[in-house]
């Protein structure tokens, strides 16, 4: 019976909630329904306005900003990729130019070397010819001198021996017999004297 009354009082208190909680003002102010309607009204008003402004004006702008940034970043990345490719191509061209110019420099160097070698050999030939000529002339002179030498020596030998004989015996000796003797001697000893 007591229990029943207790539950009934709780049940009825829901109908008179304002009166029930206004009586005990020391409790939770949250359960005081005095300003419930006001709170609901202002909540709907402020939240509604905020929702409308956010959804119609602000959030589309933010999403637009984010999208445009994303697309711009993608574009920039694409541009950077393109520039990288361009620079690769240019680097290849540069390498080619360098290798080509190296080859050219090599060939120029080789040509210059060949030319110098040719010049040197031509000059050498000329010099060699000159030297040969001079040598042969000198040889000819030497040969002539050597050929004349026995005759002169013979002559000197004949004259000296004839004079020697004249001084020794005091009589004229026939030159022709002396020259015959000298010739004979020189022919016999010629090899010894001239080293032929």
């Amino acid at each position: 019976m007591v229990k029943k009354i207790y539950f009934q009082s709780i049940f009825f208190s829901f109908f008179f909630i304002k009166e029930t909680f206004a009586a005990e003002s020391g409790g939770m102010p949250q359960l005081n329904p005095e300003f419930w309607v006001s709170q609901i009204f202002w909540l709907i008003l402020t939240f509604g306005i905020m929702y409308l402004v956010l959804s119609k004006l602000i959030l589309p702008k933010i999403s637009n900003n984010l999208e445009s940034r994303k697309s711009q970043i993608l574009e920039n990345i694409e541009a950077a990729e393109k520039q990288r490719e361009d620079s690769d191509v240019k680097l290849k061209e540069y390498d080619e130019i360098i290798s080509k110019s190296k080859l050219e420099a090599n060939s120029i160097f080789n040509q210059a070397r060949e030319k110098a070698l040719k010049d040197i050999s031509a000059k050498k030939e000329v010099l060699d010819k000159q030297i040969d000529n001079e040598i042969s002339e000198a040889e000819k002179e030497i040969y002539a001198l050597r050929n004349n030498a026995p005759d002169k020596i013979n002559k000197i030998a004949i004259e000296t021996s004839s004079e020697l004989l004249q001084k020794l015996i005091g009589a004229e000796v026939n030159n022709s017999s002396i020259s015959a003797i000298v010739d004979d001697l020189s022919k016999r000893n010629g090899d010894k004297y001239y080293g032929n």
Binding site: S38, Q39, I40, I44, I58, I62, N65, L66
Partner: protein
């Protein structure tokens, strides 16, 4: 007034009494902080979306990070079908977050520490989600109460439990936020009162506790806003995708 830790939740009229018919819709301190929250949200996000620079300034970064945070939260929990409801969930999250955070400033009023406010939000979400569910799936939405793979013997029991848990969603959603905010603020007030009553000699311990609690409450303020929003996403996911 200061002695009672509950007096910080008092709602009082600012200005004249406004009555529409039998209803009292007077401007109160609760209304003031609702307006402050919404105005600061609109101000921040308006400033953050006005310029479109590639390198965002601080306020633009804040707006865009919040945007991506909420949009990622929604797509993670409710999938791509929830995109039309992004604006609502974003507003909800920001509103609850700003109301909670405004409550952390001394001498302010915490809008979300009132059951009626959180309950109206939760009830709106509950009704909205239910309507969306019935629109998307017709009476097939009732399959939500019949989980697959349950033995037929248990089915009557399970269905009853499912219906009760579904119907208690608005209550749990609203009470969670309201109770967290109220308990935290009451505790801070109580410890603040201890600092005064114990004075210079013994007041340091509750003061240090109060400092720690402030940090914790800021965390709770964010966390409860996040939980409120993510639970809304989960309910929305049920209505949109009907995975049961």
């Amino acid at each position: 007034m200061a002695a009672n830790p509950m007096s910080q939740f008092d709602v009082y009229r600012i200005g004249p009494e406004i009555k529409v018919g039998a209803f009292d819709i007077s401007f109160t301190n609760a209304s003031l902080f609702m307006i402050l929250s919404t105005v600061s949200i609109l101000l921040i996000f308006n400033l953050g979306s006005r310029k479109n620079s590639i390198l965002p300034n601080k306020i633009q970064l804040l707006a865009e990070l919040s945007y991506t945070f909420v949009s990622k939260m929604i797509s993670d929990t409710a999938g791509s079908k929830a995109k039309p409801y992004f604006a609502f969930i974003f507003s909800l999250f920001m509103f609850v977050l700003f109301c909670n955070m405004f409550g952390m400033i001394p001498y302010t009023f915490t809008v979300t520490s009132h059951i009626i406010v959180t309950f109206v939000l939760a009830a709106f979400i509950f009704i909205g989600v239910t309507v969306i569910g019935f629109i998307k799936h017709g009476f097939g939405y009732l399959k939500l109460f019949v989980p697959s793979g349950v033995p037929a013997v248990l089915l009557p029991l399970i269905v009853v439990i499912e219906i009760i848990s579904y119907l208690s969603r608005p209550i749990s959603l609203s009470v969670r936020l309201f109770a967290n905010m109220m308990a935290g603020h009451t505790m801070m007030k109580v410890f603040g009162g201890f600092v005064i009553s114990l004075g210079v000699v013994g007041g340091w311990l509750p003061l240090s506790f109060s400092v720690a609690l402030t940090g914790l409450e800021i965390l709770v303020a964010f966390l409860q806003a996040y939980v409120f929003a993510i639970l809304t996403c989960i309910y929305l996911n049920d209505a949109l995708n009907l995975h049961h």
